[in-house]
Subunit: 347 residues, 2 copies
């Protein structure tokens, strides 16, 4: 018989709704392979929340929200609750956090996560915001409370990064991390290699919905720096905030420089790089680099992402791919929830 | 205070000795990051074994064996014990199995592993042999006994394969596996692309110690088929024996075919491929394939290895790299041992 896990989801945007739909789509498989029944019992949004300890039908709840942009008239409606009240009151096992990121304050997710950990709920977050300035605090709070804090979806959605370091490279020392962590920049650089100017490549990315109307966060390397700091903090026990990351973007990178590198067999990528110094400190940097063709991140094309770990005993291990859309992020959240409950010892 | 884990090692060849040396090299790190003290208490070899419940000094024991090709005069010597007697008698928590593989019978490792699981010891094996014909039996025995059976080092040494499927892709359905799993064949194909004939490339690989004097297992695809069957059994819940794997090797592959593919932007690799049919059955095949340049395994050069998983919700995730030498295999064993004892919930 499957163990029942009560899940609350804060944030019901595209990632949150994809996640609850995935609960439906994978119910039979998860029960069979993991022995878990993941039950959605609450949804927290900005204006109102739902809570039903006996369970909410995931896909129906997502469809209702899409039709009505809210939960008006729902029998489980808590009209005066935002996410924070939901996390305070729900008797849940796991918080899945997908509210929009305010990189500056980390709110409202920071409050959700502090509260959840304080109540001994496990947390899986697709939200980087709270970890930009509060990684160590939240990590220590989770440890003190004896609960799990999982950030795969925040680090790079469906591209495995943190769990590779934690599980696949367990026992190694990670000497360096190199990452192509921003799909938008990588798409632009890939188009520039084909001969397009920066502005034209950016315009194409915007038309395809790959780049935001204001692309600064992506093309100036802020997003890469945020992800790199998060991964280095988790995988290399660094203590970085984004300002510690030296940062050069790709705005205005001359197209002929990209083409010249390509003619030379090299590929220009926006690389986030963290290395451990002789004194043990981790230094981090984001900048366009012309990678030689045999570098394992050279072939990470288009909007794809990739990460390469340099270790002492396993040499270099590189991971590439993973869907970048909301369903990919949702799949990363689901995996984090499953891994909270799975030990290495088979059932 | 670290939790003491008693380890016995069967097989004291290059991998076994590398593993025990790694216990010394990583002792402080493993204690700090995992809270474990891995204590070597026994070593089983063909002619004689050592057992000392209070612990054996790993590096010294390896050095002694290298100097004397045995344990003559050692105070912990059990002169009439082979590995099987050691596993029967030792009060240990984990068996690390590194004896030479007899692919046909799986012995002596099969007996070691059955006995260890029967005694409720966890097992980490660098040895594929026992799993070629007995994967399901041993998996079920481990589950029944409530202990872990970890095969990372057997699947592809330091290239992460099984733990990627189990952890990083948890909750997805793996629709297909593609792998460049044999470094020797890949080295030969890489040299053929540079214009060398098969025989010359093989000769070079033999001189470099990459290929065996009799290279059949590697170049005829048997090794790839064995690994592919093991990975598909674990990651896709298949039930394959190597004879189920259709197999075409690279012997006598014309150099101009490899060069023509390269001129066309494609790379010939010996690919192991497992796919799930419409009827749910897993079909597996090993054959040289001309991969397009943008295939993530196209850039796996030289003696490197790589594996690509095609999933339903995360799309394609590819892992490349990982040291292929005995120390890489030892690092994979160490990671498996650590992962046996590590839950997702931080200490």
């Amino acid at each position: 018989v499957a163990r029942r896990i009560r899940v609350v989801v804060c944030g019901f945007g595209r990632v949150g709704r994809s996640f609850v739909r995935l609960l439906d789509d994978t119910r039979a498989r998860v029960e069979r392979s993991h022995g878990l029944a993941l039950d959605l019992i609450g949804v927290g949004e900005l204006a109102a929340s739902l809570l039903d300890a006996s369970g909410l039908p995931p896909a129906e709840t997502a469809a209702l929200y899409e039709t009505t942009r809210g939960f008006a008239g729902h029998p489980a409606l808590r009209p005066d609750w935002r996410g924070l009240e939901l996390v305070r009151e729900a008797e849940a096992d796991v918080l899945v956090e997908t509210t929009p990121t305010d990189i500056r304050t980390g709110e409202p997710a920071l409050g959700h996560i502090r509260t959840a950990l304080g109540r001994r709920m496990h947390v899986a977050s697709a939200n980087k915001g709270p970890f930009i300035r509060h990684y160590r605090e939240l990590r220590e709070l989770a440890a003190k409370q004896g609960v799990a804090l999982k950030l795969s979806a925040a680090a790079a959605a469906a591209l495995p990064t943190l769990d590779v370091a934690e599980t696949c490279l367990a026992g190694t020392e990670i000497l360096a991390i190199e990452g192509v962590l921003n799909g938008t920049s990588n798409f632009i650089l890939t188009r520039m290699r084909a001969g397009h100017a920066y502005a034209a490549a950016l315009g194409e990315a915007q038309r395809l919905g790959i780049a935001e109307p204001d692309p600064t966060l992506d093309v100036e390397g802020y997003d890469t720096a945020n992800k790199l700091a998060l991964i280095a903090n988790a995988a290399m026990d660094a203590d970085l905030v984004p300002e510690d990351v030296e940062r050069v973007g790709i705005t205005g990178l001359p197209a002929d420089m990209v083409r010249a590198a390509a003619a030379d067999g090299r590929m220009v990528r926006l690389v986030g790089r963290a290395t451990r110094d002789g004194d043990g400190r981790v230094r981090a940097r984001v900048a366009p680099e012309a990678l030689p063709a045999d570098h394992p991140l050279a072939s990470v094309d288009g909007a794809e992402k990739g990460i390469s770990y340099v270790t002492d005993t396993m040499h270099r291990v590189t991971v590439v791919g993973g869907k970048s859309d909301p369903r990919g992020a949702a799949a990363a959240l689901l995996k984090d929830v499953l891994n909270i409950y799975r030990g290495a010892i088979p059932r």
